[in-house]
């Protein structure tokens, strides 16, 4: 009987472990995007990606719809190419959609903002592997200051 009690205690122990995992998985982690659901990929080239990192969120109007899955340099001029993994739930972006790199708050992290384009008969929908051409790069503080000084000098 002693071994039965031991087994019972160990069983409870394992159940507590599973409950902890469920708690962490359901309550602490984001469950909707990119965890279990299907995804597709979109690409965008920027002049400058600023402080964007892999895993930075991709948002539409503040709602996370995907994440940056890869950042690389392509082409002869080494342009930054960003690969975004977007949840299949949001697969109705037209090819007039634009992307910009934004900053949350003054010191916050950078993320990608998707601005869905208009939809009518003349535009096509973005599919897996498509490129978004309308991009706005990150604001880089040094460039801004440079422009400002340059502008002052010209006056």
């Amino acid at each position: 009987m002693e071994s039965r009690n031991t087994q019972l205690a160990v069983g409870l122990f394992v159940i507590i472990g599973i409950l902890a995992l469920l708690f962490l998985g359901l309550k602490a982690a984001n469950t909707n995007v990119l965890t279990n659901g299907e995804t597709y990929k979109l690409f965008a080239k920027f002049d400058n990606i600023g402080g964007l990192k892999e895993r930075s969120p991709v948002k539409v109007g503040g709602v996370v719809v995907g994440r940056v899955s890869k950042i690389s340099l392509v082409g002869d001029y080494y342009e930054p190419l960003v690969e975004m993994t977007i949840s299949k739930e949001y697969n109705e972006f037209s090819d007039t959609t634009s992307v910009s790199i934004l900053t949350s708050g003054l010191l916050g992290e950078q993320y990608i903002g998707l601005n869905p384009g208009f939809i009518d008969d003349t535009v096509e929908m973005l599919e897996d592997g498509d490129y978004i051409y309308d991009t706005k790069s990150a604001l880089v503080l040094e460039d801004l200051i440079g422009q400002f000084l340059f502008g002052q000098g010209n006056d």
Binding site: L24, K27, A29, R55, L107
Partner: protein
């Protein structure tokens, strides 16, 4: 001078031989066909003494560490007007670092030292020899179930630690200091990910479980079978295992999040 060099050489050779012995001990303990009927009750018994009995210290420490994180995090973040980020701060510190690491350190102190002392004493009282003479391999019979028990228990303990810690952070942050309830969880959720954070934390604690249990068992198995020998081995288990955990944590963190 020459003596020093010789001593260094001997120390190196000894540690290489020690690592080799530890490796062979583990190989012999784990390789071979398992006999489920016999090993299941042994595993249960060890899961009980290694895992279940460590649960209390893990829950209490997890709660306190989570509460401290909530308090410290709040006082720091509130200066930047970023107290909404308290949730992810608490959750990420626990899931990525404190959960696996502190659990491993506590485990080394609580269960690891007990394993070393137990096996050392079994050696000193000739129980291991006695098994050998009975034709029962002590590595399979004594070492192996303890190893698996440690290996399975620690990730469970680490998960419990993180979960309780997050709850502690919630108690202090939301209930006491008045961070918005919804923001606490939702900001946490948008920043914590299954694969990157939870899974990597579990992988970390599996690695720590392997190393800590291994060190504890090896120190016990190799100890000089006297009271001084056992006490040295026990101390050495806690020191070596703790250093190994901290060192490995850096390497793993660099690999996973670097």
């Amino acid at each position: 001078m020459l003596n020093r060099v010789a001593a260094l050489g001997k120390a190196t050779l000894d540690s290489v031989a020690g690592a080799g012995a530890a490796f062979f001990m583990l190989m012999r303990a784990l390789v071979g066909k398992p006999q489920l009927r016999k090993s299941w009750p042994l595993l249960m018994q060890q899961m009980y003494s290694v895992g279940v009995l460590s649960l209390l210290i893990i829950v209490v420490s997890g709660l306190f560490i989570g509460m401290v994180l909530g308090l410290q995090g709040y006082t720091i973040l509130v200066d930047f007007g970023a107290e909404q980020s308290l949730g992810p701060m608490v959750a990420l510190s626990l899931l990525r670092e404190l959960g696996p690491v502190v659990t491993a350190l506590l485990f080394a102190g609580r269960a690891g030292s007990a394993l070393t002392a137990e096996i050392g004493l079994m050696k000193a009282t000739e129980q291991l020899s006695s098994l050998e003479m009975m034709g029962v391999d002590p590595l399979r019979r004594v070492i192996s179930p303890r190893f698996w028990a440690g290996f399975y228990s620690m990730p469970i303990l680490a998960l419990v630690f993180s979960a309780v810690g997050i709850y502690g952070g919630y108690l202090v942050g939301v209930r006491w200091l008045g961070v918005d309830d919804g923001a606490f969880w939702s900001v946490m959720q948008s920043n914590v990910e299954w694969g990157q954070d939870i899974l990597n934390g579990v992988i970390k604690s599996l690695v720590f479980a392997f190393v800590v249990t291994w060190i504890a068992l090896h120190k016990g198995y190799q100890c000089t079978p006297t009271s001084v020998g056992i006490s040295r081995a026990t101390t050495s288990t806690v020191v070596t295992a703790s250093l190994a955990v901290l060192g490995l944590d850096f390497v793993l963190t660099a690999l996973m999040f670097g």
